[in-house]
């Protein structure tokens, strides 16, 4: 019983820590983009204020499915948190976690999709149909990379993949398979919906896509979900390609570097059209990923 309480306490601690870290990262990203555009930009702690304000505001709902979608989205993402090793914090090192995380992230996006389309606003449906199309675009190269890594290290648990890169930083996957790390980086930008691939939340075209009807606490919950998703995707990247870390601080520092690079990279590009985005993902990243996978298999 004690172990259960310890585990629940640990689980809550991780959830709150990840939300805080995720919001901090979003604040840093806004600062970086502002600096690139030669302006000051909001203070780093701005996302915390946004979330506090949003939970203070009134909100409208369009019925049960609208609420259920928001809760399922956040719930799905918190569940995924359980299976990702964040530096030394590892709640459950079970087999098959890599594939599981891809599908659990799908739970979150399906929940959000269902909730927002339930609002009856066509702009939300257009946004969701774009998001799903783009997901198909970037998920394919990513899974080929995972296929190659699992086959190479003969384990499908992230913990195992991380251990495989232990020792000096030379045998990090970043240096062992640089092309794969590059493809994973591009896919990371697509997965987080940053600039070149954010046609799904285009504010001017479709009224910020799926979140067109979510105000107040629904927007707050979506912001929290976004912050946890960012941390999960960054953690995945760091674990798979930068050899994870033994303590949480160096882990967060590595995540920060990847995040800053992704933001800079993202803030230079205009928005892709959806089918051009998918075509791009299937042309270069998929090609390189397949080449790398073949190189590993043969």
């Amino acid at each position: 019983m004690i172990d259960l309480i310890y585990k629940i306490g640990h689980f809550l601690l991780i959830t709150i820590f990840t939300m805080a870290l995720g919001l901090l990262f979003m604040g840093i990203a806004r600062k970086i983009v502002a600096r690139i555009q030669k302006r000051y930009g909001p203070p780093i702690y701005q996302p915390y204020l946004d979330v506090l304000k949003l939970f203070g505001k009134n909100a409208i709902t369009h019925g049960f499915i609208f609420d259920f979608g928001a809760v399922m989205a956040l719930g799905g993402v918190i569940t995924t948190l359980f299976f990702i090793p964040l530096g030394s914090w590892q709640l459950y090192s079970m087999e098959g976690t890599v594939l599981l995380i891809i599908y659990l992230l799908a739970v979150a996006s399906l929940g959000m999709a269902m909730g927002t389309v339930g609002s009856g606003n066509p702009q939300a449906s257009v946004g969701i149909s774009r998001a799903l199309t783009q997901m198909l675009g970037y998920e394919l190269p990513y899974l080929v990379i995972l296929f190659a890594l699992i086959f190479r290290y003969q384990t499908s648990s992230i913990w195992g993949l991380m251990q495989a890169q232990a020792g000096s930083f030379l045998n990090w996957n970043l240096f062992a398979y640089p092309l794969m790390a590059l493809v994973a980086f591009v896919v990371l930008i697509g997965m987080m919906g940053k600039k070149p691939f954010d046609a799904m939340i285009a504010p001017s075209e479709i009224g910020s896509g799926p979140v067109v009807e979510s105000g107040g606490k629904y927007l707050g919950m979506l912001l929290l979900q976004k912050s946890i998703t960012i941390i999960i995707e960054l953690a995945l990247y760091v674990n798979l390609f930068l050899g994870g870390a033994d303590n949480i601080f160096s882990f967060s520092f590595k995540m920060l570097i990847v995040w800053v690079l992704a933001t800079m990279f993202g803030s230079l590009f205009p928005r892709f059209r959806i089918e051009d985005g998918v075509k791009f993902f299937w042309k270069w990243p998929l090609g390189i990923a397949i080449l790398q996978a073949l190189y590993i298999i043969i």
């Binding site: 502002a34 930009g41 909001p42 701005q46 506090l52 304000k53 203070g56 409208i60 067109v212």
Partner: protein
């Protein structure tokens, strides 16, 4: 949750948070809309005060009415205002919203915005420059922090006053259920 003591301190925290992060929906009715891009971008950068653009009325707290309002646009403006969620504020730009401005004698524009919507603040000028807009918004932030910006409550309290004025100009107005 809203007995007086908790309401007092909790409301202060919320007001403080509200003034630090405002989502602004600028309803580009008139010529003032062109003043906002420079205010948002590098030279004047309104986002350093936590004010950023919102895409839809659902996510917005602040409604900027930038310029003359024709009677037909007023109907859409009222509908958008009612889609926004409390706490919400309205700021009128330029003399056209204050007293009709240079379109004072035109048959199809309204003369005073605050007859139809509770306006927190007007920023005078036949389109105020970005400095004036920033100055106005900073004053608005102070008002929100002190809890004086209660336009949305005024709208609720004397709802029929506002509705009569709107119907006087627009005829029948479709209300959200």
């Amino acid at each position: 949750m809203n007995n007086n003591f908790v309401k007092g301190s909790w409301q202060e925290i919320l007001d403080w948070a509200q003034n630090k992060s405002i989502n602004m929906l600028h309803y580009c009715t008139g010529c003032g809309a062109i003043e906002l891009p420079p205010t948002m971008t590098s030279r004047y950068d309104m986002s350093r005060f936590g004010i950023g653009p919102a895409a839809t009325p659902r996510q917005a707290d602040l409604l900027l009415v930038t310029g003359y309002l024709s009677t037909k646009t007023l109907r859409r403006l009222v509908y958008t205002y009612e889609q926004m969620q409390a706490p919400k504020f309205v700021v009128g730009f330029g003399s056209c919203t204050i007293n009709g401005g240079m379109y004072w004698d035109s048959y199809n524009t309204i003369k005073q915005l605050d007859k139809y919507l509770p306006v927190e603040m007007y920023i005078a000028g036949c389109m105020p420059r970005p400095e004036a807009i920033l100055d106005g918004l900073l004053k608005l932030k102070k008002m929100i922090a002190d809890g004086e910006a209660d336009g949305y409550q005024r709208y609720e309290e004397n709802k029929d006053f506002y509705h009569q004025n709107q119907e006087a100009v627009l005829g029948e107005v479709q209300r959200t259920q």
